[in-house]
């Protein structure tokens, strides 16, 4: 009898704690988590359209009645970390570059691409006193890159243009923060990374020998706003309103390029770096959420490229198995923004109506 009572007491304790932990099911989730790639300055804030959403509390405003809390989660493991968290249902929405998003979907992760992004540049940097002058000269050198990210994808394209492959260089997998340090300390000979390279160059620590800037749009990255398929099925209304809020944020980010660049310095990036990186590119282009011809063509070609390089094991039909424009189309219509952002063609030009 004593044993039985003790056992029951233990279970009671466990169940009580469990109840506290998980709460009880409601019509709406109490918390919705949005995955963001952590910046290299370790500041947990977003930029661009999602940055305006966050800064203006647009989600809280939209879902005030339901009392839903929105948590922005800044993941240091970048895009692959976002996929990991989505797979474990630790996130409901996530934004990441095309390589991790595509690789995630290709490996069976049930996500939907519900809005797009485009225009991320990759820079090829060497230590300031390096003798390397051209991309061709990096053959046989130690190359730092964050594997599995859009910079990895850009590296494949740049190497190919110069008659090289991954096998011609010694790849070192480093995260975004470490790759900067590795160039400064000369632990790698070459690094492929984002526009932080410009700040490193301005500080006299690096020299840039190539970039995707002013290259055809295929060289730049695309990305997407993802939602877990299960979440979208369960809460279609929430996803619809979430996308509407995201479109509002994208609209605010598209209004004034210089104001948006200044706003984007909130994550620690230098204004000069952002200004140079986006030179000649309109805010309308950079902040368009559309899943248009350019985005789709880029995605399809990326799937083929990643399969060829063994980064994914199977391909999939992006249009049929991944893209869901229903939420975005509804949001654009409701906000009367159907024609605000142009549709871009495969080369990044405005499509004629």
């Amino acid at each position: 009898m004593k044993k039985t009572i003790s056992t029951l007491l233990t279970f009671a304790f466990a169940l009580a704690a469990l109840g506290t932990a998980t709460g009880f099911a409601a019509d709406y989730p109490k918390v919705i988590r949005i995955g963001q790639v952590a910046g290299s300055f370790n500041k947990p804030v977003s930029t661009g359209g999602m940055g305006y959403v966050q800064a203006n509390n647009l989600l809280d405003e939209e879902f005030k009645k339901e009392g839903i809390t929105f948590e922005f989660v800044y993941i240091r493991a970048a895009g692959p970390g976002i996929q990991e968290a989505l797979a474990n249902k630790a996130l409901d929405f996530g934004q990441s570059g095309d390589l991790p998003s595509i690789a995630g979907r290709a490996s069976g992760l049930r996500t939907r691409a519900i809005a797009g992004s485009r225009g991320g540049n990759t820079y090829v940097a060497v230590p300031a006193d390096s003798k390397i002058k051209t991309i061709k000269e990096i053959k046989g050198k130690k190359v730092g890159v964050s594997l599995g990210t859009y910079m990895h994808a850009a590296m494949l394209k740049i190497l190919k243009d110069n008659g090289l492959t991954e096998n011609d260089v010694k790849l070192v997998n480093l995260d975004n923060a470490t790759v900067k340090v590795a160039i400064a300390t000369k632990d790698v000979d070459v690094a492929f990374f984002g526009n932080d390279a410009l700040t490193l160059r301005n500080g006299g620590l690096a020299r840039i020998i190539g970039s995707t800037k002013n290259f055809p749009v295929w060289y730049q990255s695309t990305g997407e706003l993802l939602v877990r398929d299960e979440f979208a099925k369960k809460y279609p209304d929430i996803v619809k309103r979430f996308v509407k809020v995201f479109v509002k944020g994208s609209y605010l980010a598209s209004q004034n390029k210089n104001a948006t660049l200044k706003f984007n310095t909130r994550n620690g990036s230098a204004l000069a770096q952002l200004k140079e990186d986006s030179e000649g590119v309109s805010a309308l282009y950079s902040n368009s959420p559309k899943l248009d011809e350019q985005w789709l063509d880029h995605t399809k070609r990326s799937i083929a490229l990643y399969k060829k390089h063994g980064l994914i094991r199977r391909t999939f039909d992006a249009e049929k198995e991944w893209v869901d424009r229903s939420f975005l189309d509804a949001a654009l219509k409701e906000l009367k923004l159907e024609n605000y952002w142009p549709d871009y063609d495969v080369n990044g030009n405005k499509k004629k109506k």
């Binding site: 056992t7 233990t10 692959p80 968290a85 690789a103 390029k257 660049l261 204004l271």
Partner: protein, 475 residues
Amino acid sequence: MKFRMIFSWYIVGLLLLAPAAHGEDTTPQTVTEQLEAAPQEQLQVQEKDEPFDAGEPPATQSELQGVRNELQVLRDQWQRGLDRTVVQTKRLLAISGTGQFGYNQIFNSEPSNASTFQVNNFILNFKGNLRKDYEQGKDIDYALGINASNTLKNVSVTDAWLSYQILNSLDKEGPRLSITAGQQKKYFGLEATATEEFKPTISGAQFATALNLDERDIGVVLAGDLFPANDYGFNYRVPTVQYYLGVINGTGPNAVDINDEKDVFTRIVFNAPVDYSHPLRGLTLGGSWYYGRKSYSAAIKNTASVTNLGGTTTTIPLADTSATQKGDKTRWGVDLSYVNTPVGFTFEYVQGRDLLVTNGAVKNGVTLTKAAFRPVTEEGITFTLFYNFGDQFINSIKNQDRWDDWYPLTYQPFYRYDRYTPDLSHTNTHTDIHTFGFNWFFAPTTKLQVNYNLKKEYPVDKANNQILAQFQFGF
């Protein structure tokens, strides 16, 4: 004129033969071709936005000088702090520790061990790197650990090893191989290999202690893997095969060998080579084998009868002697585990073979009980089932940028069945422990564990169920 016409038709012909405007094959392949094919209007957008510094006065030289001075002051302060208050080491060093403070209550009739607070272990670890190879990751690492156990009365070395990556450890798609020399864990099964941080239960499985599998030993271990599968979308690498081969003293964590023969062990693990989001991620099948030679020792109790002056005879103890016999010490085991989120299980079966020692007794030079050595086969079985509520085991969620000292709260109820049979020729003599447990991860590397052990001893059961609670904290 004729030439121009032919040339024009040639151009028209080429245009007609050109493929349609969609698909990968039609897209210009080189940068130059693409730039010529499409001038990219978005790169030529006229900037209509307001200038960056509209309405703001330019900075003066004195203001710039002020900023420089502030930077200089900050740099000086930082350098002074480094010189005076920052601990320095000759090489990269990470200091970590694990403490275990617990409460233990046994429900039996003996008042001496009814309940107690205790510090089970306090482990201090120093780990670092002696050589960092950025090119191929052929690093040399070291570790030194100190453990104060048994309510802090005994202090011993728990880890003291040097490790070298023989193969390229940065190549995700290639095999890996390392060699580790020194005092370290033995790679045998799941229970003995898991570190304190990852064990769900407070007490280890019975067989791990009884067969000396959970104690560290001194020797050299090769550890490697083959045929890795990579899922780049998740930065996930899983080797299809992992193997371990060790040569050790076999005498325990802090002892020299007592014979010329070394103990050897090997372990092979097959992991499901699947993508991260595959339901079979975390499924592994393992097999382990251990062989050693041991000098088994039996005590011989010597006594003698003495008749005193009064004529009474009493028995007095004489100096004990012993008998020894060399024998094999073998263990083998298989294990199956599925460690995924939120649910997982582990199963382990182990058999050991030793010599069972019977102590002897001699009285007045006559053997009453002969010291004996009989081969005996032991058996251990454990099964653990757990469920996680929370994000403790999702690396990307644990490693995020935040302003606050946030941590994913996680709750882990589990059940473990643990049977140990000390002699398989008497299968009715064994002990079963059913553990109902709950782990609450409430801070980084810190958890509260509550275990209720329902203990059944066969063939004669005694009342000795147990409740254990423990804070395990790390830094």
